[in-house]
């Protein structure tokens, strides 16, 4: 038998998992009503699944070394194709047309989902500055999101300020919080930075949940006004379309600004900071300034997204701003490919839209998300799109065959 060792191993692994998951998967306990339910079918399912998956995995490992170089060539062929202006310009145009036409062919519900996805695109692009470019692992990004949302809700409630005033205001307040968080963590390295930012975000959430006088506690704030359209009253459906176009416009703006930042002196300083903090300082980069700028700018987009979120859903409460949200946004950045604008956009749309269209999954969305994170890190740690370094044209004696920018947004 050709695959005997693999089959044998798969058998053992299947047994292991059947044994391992036995109490929790097979036995359901309800101590309220004192019932115990035995679900033997799960045992069989786990056994089969573990056997099959482990067998396939072993086959994959066996053939992996042969396949690897092809994969690399394949990827750069696609990237090169996409970098060619003759190709990507009409492609972008097509996307643009689809985006404009979308709300007129989609249902109200679908428009709302797409708008949510666009908010996450904005969040992903913002976090991408901190994590993807500057290499600052921020696990508490949701805090800036919350700051934006609550700024809008509270300033509107107490002072009657409108959406258009508070959109930039929320972004600025969030940027300020970015500096606030950035200062104390300047000296911290990798993991510690991650944990401290997580702790900051949790503190913020707990304060919002418990300081009722300030934030109205767990019941949140409702009746947050939608953005006005020249003073005209819009119906719910019209408002949704309006919101959608607003988000599209702001996302385009976001992509534009972040692309500019990425390919600038600051952007290079951030990447150098990420690659080697000590060496970048030795080359004259002010590490403090670079880090603070990264935090502040990253937070700005989250703040803006927060205002938009509050305006869209007209109701916010602390439960929307948990660690899980930060994890999701981080997943978007990592899955998309650190530093790659296109990758982040694709990942955001995928993570938000796919579960909607695979609605049968329902409750299983989160567990699949967890599994996806693990699998992504094992199989494709660099994410979907690896941004190639920028290629430059430079003045020299003979014209070089240098192509234009690789790794376009």
């Amino acid at each position: 038998m050709k695959y005997f060792p693999e089959l044998n191993k798969s058998f053992v692994i299947a047994l292991w998992f059947m044994l391992l998951t036995f109490p929790i998967l097979v036995i359901r306990v309800n101590t309220i009503e004192n019932i115990v339910v035995w679900r033997w079918i799960n045992l069989a399912l786990i056994g089969i699944a573990a056997f099959v998956l482990s067998f396939l995995w072993q086959l994959y490992l066996k053939h992996k070394t042969a396949a690897a170089p092809d994969a690399a060539a394949h990827q750069s062929a696609l990237v090169r194709r996409m970098s060619d202006p003759k190709f990507y310009r009409p492609f972008l145009l097509l996307i643009g047309i689809l985006a404009l036409v979308f709300p007129f062919v989609a249902s109200h519900y679908q428009i709302n989902i797409m708008t949510t996805a666009l908010i996450y695109v904005m969040l992903g692009l913002g976090l991408n500055i901190e994590v993807g470019l500057a290499g600052l692992l921020d696990l508490g990004y949701v805090a800036f999101y919350a700051v934006g949302a609550y700024s809008y809700a509270l300033l509107n409630y107490h002072f009657g300020l409108g959406f258009w005033t508070l959109l930039p205001a929320g972004a600025l307040i969030a940027a300020f919080f970015g500096l606030l968080v950035g200062f104390p963590v300047l000296r911290l390295r990798g993991d510690y930075l991650a944990i401290v930012t997580l702790a900051f975000a949790e503190i913020l959430r707990l304060v919002l949940e418990n300081w009722n006088a300030f934030s109205f506690g767990p019941s949140g704030i409702s009746n947050i006004p939608r953005p006005g359209f020249f003073g005209i009253d819009l119906t719910l459906e019209q408002s949704a379309v309006y919101m959608y176009f607003l988000l599209v416009a702001l996302c385009v703006l976001t992509v534009f600004v972040i692309h500019r930042l990425q390919h600038s002196r600051i952007g290079r300083a951030w990447v150098a900071l990420r690659e080697d903090e000590l060496a970048c300082q030795a080359m004259g980069v002010d590490k403090t300034r670079a880090k603070l700028t990264a935090f502040a700018l990253g937070a700005t987009w989250a703040g803006m997204a927060g205002v938009l979120f509050a305006a869209k859903t007209t109701f916010i409460n602390p439960a929307s701003f948990t660690f899980l949200e930060s994890a999701m946004i981080l997943a978007i950045v990592v899955l998309g490919g650190m530093g790659s604008i296109v990758g982040v956009i694709i990942a955001a749309l995928a993570i938000i839209l796919l579960p909607e269209y695979l609605r049968v999954l329902g409750d299983y969305r989160m567990i699949l998300f967890g599994a996806a994170l693990i699998l992504m890190m094992i199989f494709r740690p660099r994410g979907l799109v690896t941004p190639a370094g920028k290629t430059y044209e430079f003045r020299c004696a003979d014209p070089p065959p240098a192509p234009e920018e690789k790794g376009r947004p």
Partner: protein, 300 residues
């Protein structure tokens, strides 16, 4: 007894549990420089497994000490097995990768395990029976110290002493300490590093499970989410004491437990978690090496 004493005892109890869980974090971080985000979930799984076994046994008519022992033993075994498996699936393949990959994988595993238990069991809070059998001794001292508190504090102390002895005097313990100090060197001197890493996870998971069972019995209920909060706090304790330091985890756990207990008692109980997080932030910013840690110089 008076308020202070209650808070003090409560702090010791809480702190003992934090210490048990923190040990798992600190041992794994010491060896792999990885924050095992999924460790809190192992604690939770230990509690759930104990609940399941106890329920079955109770339905069969067993009660008292045998239930405690059987449920405890099986739960600890299972938790260790889960810890072992998690390491093999989510961390081992990523040992050569950057620091970010295993961290995200750990977050993914944490989310996965939480939802796994939630979907397989229930999202509700489930009552957890008091597994402590009645005892004359415990009744006698219940004037000063509740039976559950007593058992928790004593058990934790015994377990931690056992762990210290194991690390100091056994061959495996020495190998673990060596691997934590310098993995490559340990390999060169013949230590089977993979095995040591597995054993670290197994021991850490066992400790967490013990903590899970003890506290579940004490508090009286569990749900799939208890791992997250306990995990963060235990991690805080580990950092507080000096991440990578075993005695540090114990000290950190007790200090955090006491701080939380007195904080919620004298200041406010709403902001219980905020105390832990604030301490975490302050420690990491001002003294990242913790109470017992040694500072690490970066070599250029």
């Amino acid at each position: 007894m008076n308020f202070f004493w209650d808070l003090f005892l409560g702090g010791l109890t809480r702190g003992s549990i934090y210490a048990l869980i923190a040990l798992g974090y600190t041992m794994v971080y010491g060896i792999l420089q990885l924050i095992n985000f999924a460790h809190g979930e192992i604690y939770m799984i230990g509690a759930f497994t104990a609940l399941i076994v106890a329920s079955i046994l109770t339905l069969q008519g067993l009660a008292g000490l045998p239930v405690l022992i059987l449920a405890g033993l099986i739960a600890v075994l299972y938790a260790s097995a889960y810890g072992f498996t998690v390491e093999k699936i989510a961390y081992k393949p990523l040992r050569q990768a950057s620091r970010l990959s295993p961290l995200i994988s750990a977050i993914g595993m944490s989310i996965f395990l939480q939802n796994y238990v939630m979907l397989a069991q229930t999202s509700d809070f489930l009552p957890f029976p008091n597994l402590l059998p009645p005892s004359d001794f415990l009744d006698a001292i219940s004037v000063w110290i509740g039976p559950s508190d007593f058992v928790i504090i004593v058990t934790s102390a015994v377990v931690m002493i056992a762990l210290s002895l194991l690390l100091k005097f056994t061959k495996m313990g020495r190998a673990m300490r060596a691997t934590a100090q310098d993995r490559e060197m340990a390999m060169l001197t013949g230590v089977d590093v993979n095995r040591i890493i597995s054993r670290t996870f197994i021991i850490g998971s066992a400790l967490a499970a013990i903590g899970g069972i003890l506290i579940a019995s004490h508090v009286g209920r569990i749900n799939f989410y208890i791992g997250f909060n306990a995990g963060i706090k235990a991690f805080t304790a580990a950092v507080l004491g000096g991440i990578g330091s075993i005695p540090g985890a114990m000290v950190g756990g007790l200090v955090l437990g006491l701080a939380e207990s007195f904080g919620t008692g004298y200041i406010s109980s709403d902001y219980e978690s905020v105390f832990a997080f604030a301490i975490l932030i302050l420690i990491l910013i001002f003294k990242p090496d913790g109470i017992l840690g040694r500072s690490s110089q970066q070599k250029v």
